[in-house]
Amino acid sequence: MTRVVHPRTFGSDLNMTAFIQYTVQGLAAGGFYALAALGLAIIFGALGVVNFAHGSAYMLGAVLSAVLLTTLNVHFWAALVIVPLLMFAFGILIERLLVRWLLRLDVLYNFLLTFGLSLVLVDVVKNLYGVSGLPYEQPAGLQGLIHVGGVTLPKYQLFVFVFSVLVCVIVWVLLTRTRAGMIVRAATEDPDRARALGINVSRWITPVFGFGIAVAALSGVLAAPFRAITATMGTNFVIILFAIVVIGGLGSILGAVVAGFLVGLVEAYGQAYAGTFAQIAIFILMVIVILVRPAGLFGRRDAA
């Protein structure tokens, strides 16, 4: 019997290569989501604030990177450190001046406050830098492609994935291995109970808010070489972040990270195999999760 070489063999190799590329692309997109959603989950957990301005923090992270590059020649690698620090200070300011005063009221008040804040920030950036966006160079050392086991992958996307995982791991270590992390975890899980145990939660939530903003800004710095840097770049982004936090389980930090990468993958596979359907796919995933596990993938029933 003659051995028949199916033409399909070649095709499936090609499909496998494409699948790996889609996976890396999905994980890179997920990296942006995971970092920003991590910050959103921490803020929601510790303060009970649904921070609508989180998309603006992501946007400001990218805009600041571009402005620092053109005015002070601060390059990508330095921006990865400087921008989150600046945004940490900005977050502290916002918490002290605005968010704090509404914490005792219904969550809706801070939702509306941060919604208004996001509109203001978007318009301020529009006024200062216009609407068509800011230029940004490709960071040194991350241009071009890398060959891994026969698959060609863009270096930058691989970097975004690895870097975001690394940051998530560092945050995880800080949360689980330090006393500050322990207190943040407790305050996130049940702030009232932490108060009753003698913990001054309000002293902790200011830096926690700043931290959440800083991580979102870090996601924005990563986006600067890869996405259009415009005043409105966070507007749709934040909607997807909310979907991610719901999928992961409200207030669950691990859930936000896992769901962030998951949504990135769903988006990539959706785009690859279902075209323009991709963006709806995320929300279908959200609906399924809400129906099957109302508290989210990692949410506790009592937290829902």
Partner: protein
């Protein structure tokens, strides 16, 4: 930044004082005027705050003011339009808002003509208002061919460009060896229209479209679509997205290591400025006008620079052209009566800063020479905004599609 803002504030102050002076001079002139209501009101209706703010927006108003100043300087005492006002409004790129604002402009502010109007859906809505009010409407910044097709009417003129004109750029690319194309387009009215026009143009030029990939709109993640486009191994990947989506696509395209040549369907100079010339180097596209093409353009662009602190997009120049040709038509007609002005425009051959070999066609599409532009390398850029090398000039008769048979005038 403070410098820029001072300039903008200065320009606005200049503008408003000019308007105030014009208003003061008004009553004296009305006695001898042949104007229907003693004044000519030019309405600039566009996006004052959203995605098209930079490429049209407030600077379109300044371009129109330049046209008014030039008209006054040219005719002096002999000017028919002695009292010219400019009014502006923001459509927010929403058809319903555009509809209401256009009605208010024609009725309450007594606008004799409306200019600019980016975003195809808004542009089509305003065309219907113009037809109903029997007032002039010169669309500058919308791309849809429907303006001179199904929704064409006696009072609507389509001034600067359309999707078929943009698609003509494919000819040159195919001729230069880019035979097979993958077209990536945002899945909404503009993108679909662009995709159709480009597919037709590529095939007419003897090329082949091997993949046609719709993407969500708006979208910030194109990596997967780029991989998909690459899978068909095309010579050229044509991207039909505009604004922020275009920039997202190009940034991600450049990190993807894709080897196909990139062709951009619609590009404004503001896009190159915002992304940086490096990311676009070598890309070819069809331009309607370029500020550094010749001395005439450059002189005008220098005036524009002093008023706005930025270089003009082709839409700014086209608004200047539309306002100029409107005022010239009023001058020839000796009145601002809409029907008389339309008569002075129809079938005319026009020549100005923007219109080279210009002609108002039977379907009210205003054709003119277009340009095949290539983005320079960073080393070739000698001053800010000098991003384009014009590699070919396409004569007006070849630059646009045929007269639209769907238009019955």
């Amino acid at each position: 930044m403070a410098h820029t803002r001072r300039k903008v504030v200065g320009a606005v102050a200049l503008l408003s004082s000019a308007m105030l002076l014009a208003a003061c001079a008004g009553p004296a002139a009305t006695s001898t005027s042949k104007l229907t209501d003693g004044k000519v009101v030019i309405g600039v209706l566009n996006d004052q705050s959203g995605v098209y703010k930079d490429l049209s927006g407030p600077n379109s108003v300044i371009a129109v003011q330049m046209a008014v100043d030039d008209y006054k300087a040219k005719y002096g005492d002999k000017a028919v339009a002695t009292n010219i006002q400019i009014v502006k409004a923001d459509t927010q790129n929403k058809p319903d808002v555009g509809n209401v604002k256009a009605e208010a402009m024609y009725d309450r502010q007594q606008a004799d003509v409306i200019l600019d109007v980016p975003a195809s859906s808004v542009a089509l809505a305003v065309a219907k208002v113009a037809a109903a009010k029997k007032k002039l409407y010169m669309n500058v910044t919308a791309a849809t061919t429907d303006l001179s097709g199904p929704t064409c009417n006696k009072y609507t003129f389509h001034w600067a460009y359309d999707t078929q004109m943009l698609a003509k750029g494919a000819n040159g690319v195919v001729a230069a060896g880019g035979k097979t194309w993958a077209i990536v387009y945002p899945d909404y009215a503009f993108g679909q229209n662009m995709s159709k026009s480009f597919t037709a143009a590529v095939e007419a030029a003897g090329g082949k479209v091997v993949a046609s990939i719709p993407t969500p709109f708006p979208n910030d993640n194109f990596a997967t679509f780029i991989t998909k486009a690459q899978a068909s191994n095309p010579d050229v990947i044509g991207i039909m997205a505009a604004g922020g989506d275009l920039i997202n696509f190009v940034k991600q395209y450049n990190t993807s290591g894709a080897k196909a040549q990139l062709a951009v369907g619609l590009m404004f100079i503001t896009d190159i400025h915002s992304l940086g010339v490096d990311q676009f180097t070598g890309t070819t596209f069809t331009d309607a006008w370029y500020w550094n093409y010749d001395k005439k353009n450059r002189d005008w662009a220098d005036r524009f620079l002093t008023l706005t602190d930025t270089r003009p997009s082709f839409a700014h120049a086209a608004n200047y052209s539309a306002a100029t040709q409107y005022l010239e038509a009023v001058q020839r007609a000796g009145t601002d009566n809409a029907d008389a002005v339309v008569k002075e425009l129809e079938g005319k051959k026009l020549e100005d800063l923007f219109l080279r070999g210009g002609e108002v066609r039977a379907d009210h599409s205003v054709i003119h020479d277009s340009y095949t532009a290539q983005v320079k390398t960073a080393a070739q850029v000698t001053e800010d905004w000098d991003f384009e090398k014009i590699i070919a000039t396409n004569p007006a008769k070849d630059a646009f599609g045929p007269v639209n048979p769907e238009c019955k005038l």
